[in-house]
């Protein structure tokens, strides 16, 4: 009886173990990726719905101190989660696959750390869609902490980034992304730099001791909220930079941020845009349009609380771009708390102050061209250049909860026939025409050989063998996935001209 009870107990513990295991490591898409309790989020409904990143549908790969994160990325398939345990990793990790999650595991306050030792360029580069990077400490790189190039649906959160060179977090050309709860310092350009992106939320981050805290550049539909930007040269920036392939920067909401004491001496690289930012800049809007600034606390910034300018006044040394409109248009200044700004302004600002016989510098200063801007109750601030600003019709931005999309950006073509068509004409047609010989045999000959046997083509083109003396050996097409080879084989067998 006792033995039976014991067996039962063991079985029960086993079952609970399996249940827990499934709970934590399960494969169902409805089971969230395990998040260390230290950073457990009080996820609100709708939080990152639609970003798609971080949805773990595949396996979990663990990386322990002494092994390589990149090796794990190499082994990972879309949907996999890579968990990185405490330790120091000296490497550049690149992710050229979709739906890969990199998750640090923080144990007793000990962080997994990527350390570039000031020899490596970037810590993490990604181009895939649906990439998630969280819970990593990143330090001592020369270029970037985390840089994305054209990856859509990205999530970058809970990272601690210290002196990673030019930028800390830099998604570029990405649509639909979330950057939240990161802490960044010691960056010589922008700590968080949203470059040529669309639909991004930047929130709950702390940026300090950088040249620029948060910069939204040539991007559209950006929500910057609940960030703490302090002790940078400039706190929060929205720019349209000329000479880039994206020619607009608009629809940016900057709200509920604490922008304090951004009086750090500018240590930007010569020639960089931010090297022109005067220390003491709380917020800077340059040539960007449709910017709404609401409910921020902007205080203790010695040059100016909020500066709104065109290229001309900004003194930026860039070649001009006929396709980039240089003015800041339709700036909406709603309720903000501003105090103690402008204690030690630069000479250009002082000159403007003198026109108003003011000894104190601005909470808000607008210079250069621009139309359609407005401000609510400007009398409470010290302002310069807002004479043409109307009273705002809008009173708040409550209707905007997020700029993330309600579903992930999807690839353009999903039908396998379309993929087959793209591959046939995009690749195969270099050597094969329908009824005539180019380099390889005509397609109608291939059709006769492989009638109802697409799989035969799928196998052959991955590892071709020399079959006929009158034709050169076909180069292997094993770089195409099996799925693509199947699609193109079926397409090839279906065409009639």
């Amino acid at each position: 009886m006792k033995t039976a009870k014991r067996v039962l107990l063991v079985v029960a513990i086993f079952a609970i173990g399996i249940y827990c295991g499934k709970l934590f490591f399960g494969r169902g898409s409805d089971i969230p990726a395990p998040v260390p309790t230290y950073f457990s989020e009080s996820a609100q409904p709708g939080d990152s719905v639609g970003v798609g990143a971080g949805t773990v549908t595949g396996k979990i790969i663990e990386v322990k101190n002494g092994s390589s994160i990149q090796e794990a990325v190499g082994k990972a398939n879309p949907g996999d989660l890579i968990r990185i345990y405490p330790g120091v990793y000296h490497e550049t990790v690149y992710i050229d696959k979709d739906n890969i999650s990199l998750q640090g595991v923080i144990v007793n306050g000990e962080w997994p750390t990527l350390d570039g030792e000031k020899k490596q360029n970037d810590a993490i580069l990604y181009s895939g869609n649906g990439v998630l990077v969280e819970n990593l400490k990143i330090t001592n790189y020369k270029g970037n902490g985390i840089m994305g190039q054209a990856g859509n649906n990205y999530v970058i959160r809970n990272n601690w980034i210290v002196d990673t060179g030019v930028y800390g977090i830099f998604p570029q050309f990405g649509k639909n992304g979330l950057v939240e709860r990161n802490i960044l310092t010691g960056i010589e350009d922008a700590a968080i730099y949203i470059g040529m992106c669309d639909n991004v939320d930047v929130r709950f981050n702390e940026v300090y001791g950088n040249v620029a805290g948060i910069e939204i550049e040539n991007s559209r539909h950006a929500l910057v909220e609940y960030n703490y930007a302090h002790d940078n040269t400039g706190g929060i920036l929205a720019f349209l930079t000329p000479g880039l392939p994206i020619k607009t920067c608009y629809d940016v909401i900057i709200r509920n941020n604490y922008v304090y004491h951004n009086n750090t001496k500018n240590f930007g690289a010569v020639g960089s845009t931010v090297s022109h930012i005067p220390k003491g800049t709380g917020m800077l809007i340059m040539a960007a349009d449709d910017i709404t600034i609401e409910n921020n606390i902007v205080t203790g910034n010695d040059n100016a609380g909020i500066t709104i300018t065109d290229y001309g006044y900004a003194g930026v040394d860039h070649a001009s771009d006929p396709e980039s409109e240089p003015n800041s248009d339709r700036i909406t200044l709603l309720d903000n708390f501003m105090s103690n700004n402008g204690a030690d302004p630069v000479a250009d600002v002082k000159t403007i102050m003198m026109t108003k016989l003011s000894k104190l510098g601005p909470d808000i200063i607008a210079v250069g061209g621009g139309v359609g801007s407005c401000v609510i109750n400007p009398g409470r601030y010290r302002t310069f250049g807002l004479d043409a600003y109307a009273n705002c019709q809008a009173r708040d931005t409550r209707s905007v909860k997020t700029y993330l999309l309600n579903k992930p950006v999807t690839p353009r073509i999903t039908a396998s026939m379309e993929k087959g068509r793209m591959t046939y004409y995009g690749v195969c047609s270099g050597c094969h025409a329908y009824s005539t010989r180019l380099v390889g045999p005509p397609v109608n000959t291939i059709q006769a050989m492989y009638k109802n046997n697409a799989q035969g083509i799928v196998d052959f083109i991955a590892h071709p063998v020399h079959k006929r003396d009158d034709y050169p050996e076909m180069p292997p097409q094993n770089y195409l996935t099996t799925e693509t080879r199947k699609a193109v084989a079926e397409y090839m067998l279906s065409i009639t001209k």
Binding site: A150, P245, V409, T481
Partner: protein
């Protein structure tokens, strides 16, 4: 493994047979199938098909710039097979020049990446020209032409060299008179432009046909592209290291040489000194009448860059390695002191190591793909000799290989 493959474009074979069989007065039959890379639609139009068409660009206005799996910019396609093939004859025919010695292919030689291997090109009567001949690969995607971005279409671009006294040295009148005087061309134009009532060859038809041919020069199947589409083994370790340096924010190459075309199609001042003995070239300053663009030039694509030495608008560097050294040596280090230049902010002092520069060279050499190389006609309707430089028999492998 590398295989020597010589593309034998079927149309050429057909053409030759027709030429041999029929009297020269009849034009060679024009090809009725599309060049590689294009699908023939029911409306007899050639539409580009590429694996890149499975991706979304992200940005709504479709600039076609970014990382690996990114859509291409809008393409200039939709010409008929006959127009493309007619353009091929015109492109290689020296009859388009004033004295019958220079064709488009003289400076845009297929075997040299559709450039000419010279520091700056040589025009009529051995006139040394100011700038280097740009490659024509992938021009179907471009919105601006010439190093100084002064033309906005291929049609507009070609009127530059055609009617420049130093380059092809013809006139509109002479061009029309010459082509209308060649019976085979009259037939070929009628075939390529069937909707018009038969009559004289028109200038816009000449421009359209050459544009159609140039737009068919597609190079998007390099080993890099295989990597980009999801086959990591397409590049070796050194080349992947090079890719990571290329796109890193230290070297910043990918900021202007943006995939998938490896150009962001902007103009930029990089602060090159003029070649010895030459005056400083103002570049896009003259196009836009803007002093801040002094010394600005179009960012060239790096596709097939291994074929197009020497490099820069004035052929300043003979090798890719020297080009890397220029970028690494510091912002404005060779800019003339008497020039006030607005050097691009991405030109800084990345202090790349020799090792890193070597890897960059390794990487950009993976951008070679000539699998859709067209074949020069054996003969052209004018009966003039085709420049022997356009012979492609000297060419290396045309096929993308895995290693």
């Amino acid at each position: 493994m590398r295989i020597q493959l010589f593309i034998t474009v079927v149309c050429v074979v057909v053409t030759l047979e027709v030429v041999l069989r029929s009297a020269p007065a009849n034009g060679p039959a024009l090809c009725n199938t599309c060049p590689p890379g294009f699908e023939l639609t029911d409306a007899n139009l050639c539409k580009l098909r590429s694996l890149y068409q499975q991706y979304e660009s992200g940005q709504g206005d479709d600039p076609g710039v970014g990382g690996l799996k990114t859509a291409l910019p809008a393409v200039r396609d939709g010409f008929t097979p006959q127009q493309i093939d007619l353009g091929r004859y015109l492109f290689f025919d020296p009859v388009l020049s004033g004295d019958g010695t220079v064709s488009c292919a003289t400076c845009h030689q297929p075997a040299k990446g559709f450039s000419d291997g010279l520091k700056t090109s040589v025009g009529l009567h051995n006139t040394k020209l100011k700038r280097a001949a740009p490659s024509l690969w992938n021009v179907a995607f471009y919105k601006k032409f010439f190093w100084d971005a002064r033309a906005t279409s291929l049609e507009e671009q070609m009127t530059g060299p055609l009617y420049s006294a130093d380059e092809m040295g013809t006139t509109r009148e002479q061009l029309l008179k010459t082509l209308n005087g060649i019976a085979p061309y009259r037939d070929m134009f009628e075939e390529a432009f069937p909707d018009r009532a038969s009559g004289a060859i028109r200038l816009d038809e000449i421009y359209t046909a050459i544009t159609a041919f140039e737009s068919s020069l597609i190079s998007l199947n390099s080993r890099y592209d295989q990597y980009a589409h999801g086959y990591p083994e397409a590049l070796n370790k050194a080349e992947i290291e090079g890719l990571n340096i290329f796109r890193s924010f230290v070297a910043r190459c990918a900021e202007c040489h943006t995939p998938p075309l490896f150009t962001n199609q902007q103009v930029a001042v990089i602060g090159l000194a003029p070649p010895e003995g030459s005056a400083f070239d103002p570049g896009a300053q003259e196009t836009f009448h803007d002093a801040s663009l002094r010394g600005a030039f179009k960012v060239p694509s790096l596709r097939n860059i291994d074929r197009t030495a020497p490099y820069t608008h004035a052929g300043r560097f003979d090798s890719l390695r020297e080009m890397m050294t220029f970028y690494s040596a510091g912002r404005g280090h060779e800019a003339p002191r008497n020039e006030k230049l607005h050097i691009h902010w991405h030109i800084w002092e990345p202090k790349l190591t020799d090792y890193e520069m070597d890897r960059l060279v390794d990487f950009v050499k993976t951008l070679t793909d000539e699998s859709f190389m067209p074949r020069a006609p054996e003969t052209v309707p004018s009966g003039l000799a085709i420049d022997k430089n356009t012979d492609q028999k000297t060419q290396a492998s045309l096929s993308p290989t895995t290693h």
